[in-house]
């Protein structure tokens, strides 16, 4: 993370030395774009804060540990889609679930939907892609996640 700050600072400095005017124009664009999208981010944060309260980690753990793996995939995809969780929380959680006996294919469905399908990021995505394409992209992503889960199950011998 700190490398990124340093890298950005360095780029700004180089840009400033090369052309002051262009650099100011760049910063103006940055601020304009950022301010424009802030309401959508706030909407997302409000949704995220409420949903994470309603669906805490313990709930997820309880439901993913289902005996029926096929049902588990569907439940995992559902949670993965409606929840927003950064990787540094999600993967340790999956590690714990794995040690509790949750199958690889269920975890695969969960992590893939978590990464690709974003119900809670809808307010932001819609601003850029439009409502129709946002829904289309998320639907395709959900299908991809299901196929990925089944493939994972196949390679880990959990399918049959």
């Amino acid at each position: 993370m700190y490398y990124l700050y340093a890298f950005t600072g360095l780029l700004l400095l180089i840009s400033f030395i090369a052309n002051k005017e262009k650099t100011f124009r760049a910063l103006k664009i940055s601020i304009k774009r950022f301010v424009k999208i802030i309401p959508a981010f706030l909407a997302m944060l409000i949704l995220v804060s409420i949903v994470l309260f309603l669906v805490p980690d313990e709930t997820i753990s309880r439901y993913l540990g289902n005996d029926n793996s096929y049902l588990g995939i569907l439940v995992a995809s559902f949670f993965g889609s409606i929840i927003f969780m950064p990787g540094f929380i999600a993967f340790p959680l999956c590690g714990i679930l794995l040690s509790k006996g949750v199958t690889y294919m269920v975890l695969s469905a969960f992590t893939t939907t978590l990464m690709m399908v974003g119900v809670l990021t809808f307010p932001i995505e819609k601003e850029y892609l439009g409502t129709k394409v946002t829904i289309l992209r998320n639907f395709i992503s959900l299908l991809i996640a299901l196929i990925v889960a089944l493939t994972t199950g196949f390679f880990f011998g959990e399918l049959f």
Binding site: L45, V48, C94
Partner: protein, 174 residues
């Protein structure tokens, strides 16, 4: 879904703020928990977003449209996909950072298939995340997931991009 009128949205946000403040004041636990969720995620984003938007600004000013068109445009062949996946691998944060970047690429003339590949890849193969995943779930798991999902992302992006190009689809504002 239609967006609610501005005034409704402002009222909802104000109601939320009021609920959280009162909860903190009187110690209403659910409200405090929700407020803490909000703060922790907001902080996480405040760390990343300004950097992302500064880089986007610099990109808009310094990178020529022809360059993007040549490497990521409609006729860039397989190279466009490789570039977009590499770019996605180094994207930080998550999809919420990738959307504004995708918009910049679109304005500079990148092809829609390449852009959707970038978005998909930014979701599933950011390098820091892959390392994390492999250390908790194993290399085999990560490789299977990566290879399967990435190939599906590329295939579906090609189809989706072609389809939307035919419909003269335009990305919105930013």
């Amino acid at each position: 879904m239609k967006t609610a009128p501005k005034i409704v949205r402002i009222l909802l946000a104000a109601g939320y703020l009021l609920f959280i403040s009162i909860s903190f004041f009187i110690g209403f636990e659910p409200g405090v928990k929700i407020g803490n969720n909000f703060i922790s995620f907001a902080l996480e984003m405040v760390k990343i977003l300004p950097i992302a938007f500064i880089l986007i600004g610099l990109f808009e000013v310094w990178v020529k449209k022809e360059t993007v068109e040549r490497h990521l445009g409609k006729d860039s062949s397989y190279r466009g996909y490789i570039w977009s996946i590499l770019l996605a691998g180094t994207t930080v944060g998550g999809l919420y950072v990738a959307f504004p970047v995708a918009y910049s690429l679109f304005r500079k003339g990148a092809g829609l298939s390449v852009i959707f590949t970038y978005l998909g890849a930014a979701a599933i193969c950011r390098i820091p995340m892959i390392i994390f995943e492999a250390s908790f779930l194993g290399v085999k798991f990560t490789l299977i997931r990566l290879i399967t999902s990435l190939s599906l992302v590329i295939i579906t992006s090609m189809v989706l991009g072609k389809y939307l190009e035919k419909k003269c689809y335009q990305m919105q504002k930013g």
